[in-house]
Symmetry: C2
Subunit: 216 residues, 2 copies
Amino acid sequence: MRASRVVMTGSQTVTDVDGERDATQLILQDIQSGIYAPGTWLKQIDLETRYGRGRNEIRRALDRLALKRVVEHVPNRGYHVYLSDGKQWDDIAEIRIMLETGIAGKVIAHATTADIAGLRDLANRFQGLLLSGTVLELYEANLAFHRAYVDLAGNVELHSVIAELRQRTSSAPVSQWHTRSRIEVSAAEHHEMVNAIEGKDEMRLRTLIERHIRQK
Amino acid sequence: MRASRVVMTGSQTVTDVDGERDATQLILQDIQSGIYAPGTWLKQIDLETRYGRGRNEIRRALDRLALKRVVEHVPNRGYHVYLSDGKQWDDIAEIRIMLETGIAGKVIAHATTADIAGLRDLANRFQGLLLSGTVLELYEANLAFHRAYVDLAGNVELHSVIAELRQRTSSAPVSQWHTRSRIEVSAAEHHEMVNAIEGKDEMRLRTLIERHIRQK
DNA sequence: GTTGACAAAATTGGTACCAATCCTATTTAC
DNA sequence: GTAAATAGGATTGGTACCAATTTTGTCAAC
């Protein structure tokens, strides 16, 4: 019998006290790590043995990922990793720009000195991983920075919306930063964003965010 | 044996040729119709008999709705309709404003005369249902208008994002328009929005959308 | 009269099994 | 030699069953 269980509904993480993670998260992580390339068929038996879970949990996980558009479901054929085209990436980037620039004013108004210090820490952490960290660690650090930024708007729903959008581009971690120089630019942009918040320069912050997400 | 089956993955509608709808949609519709009030426990056996579906499909539907935050899942207790508080409604409205005002420029740039005529038709349809239609019909007509507007931005991802946001406020159809005068104002605002698009007045369109969504 | 404990019923959630469907390899006909 | 047909194997997806947990109803004690 389990002592207790922490279950957060919605699109958030589902974990329990043993440190075991939900099969959905495990499969998602493996897809985002590039272990399952886009187009690969995800056979239920393989997943069953790989993650040591029952058939039922695997089925539920695949159904959830299909809902999140991470995998695609073909009746009587199975589930395969979604092949994201260029337009999808652009569309999602555009939505993220609308949302993250949209809250710029609120963030600047609400941000305390402690909040700004927290953001700077996360920006430094990303920069620190630039040399030693793996791609996945960098991805997580970048995610943490953006999450902290979005949190400053005080909109709890926005959090899950953006998290979901990020998950739709499954191969994001692999394709996003293929060159070291691009990662260095990202790290620098993080610091510039913090500076803009500190200086209460909303227009500059908006410009920075748009360039940062669009990455060009 | 079935002749053919139309399956659209993701958060969109799942229907087949017989007109039978997915259990997820049926339950969602009943929640939005107010048949299942917020806080009500959704017992699997009841749903099983009501919709004439197997236990498995009901479980999958409830899991999906829990992921969409329409219902909440409590382990070993079951699923109950989510109680949306005031802040959640405000947060979602804010996100919708950011997105629907964010695409205003693109919509004005891309809209042809045919597109504008289509929008006006939908605005008229909403107005026509004002006297004779049920609350659910009005809800659907309003949805159709906003969907058509969003489509003009040419962002296919945005479509599903907004659809998902709308579903999160489960009791929306009931609580949104309790007074007839409010519905009349909404109908008038639809026409004003079309006029703003036709006149290529972006700032006016943005102001209208914000007021229309916030409803105050 | 109220509170607590205990038993019974109901509900959830997981596991196992089996049918329907699809892919693959071998065989056969041309 | 090539292409179609067929048999075999593998995979998905639904159904039924059963154990674990919770709630409800009853009874006794204070």
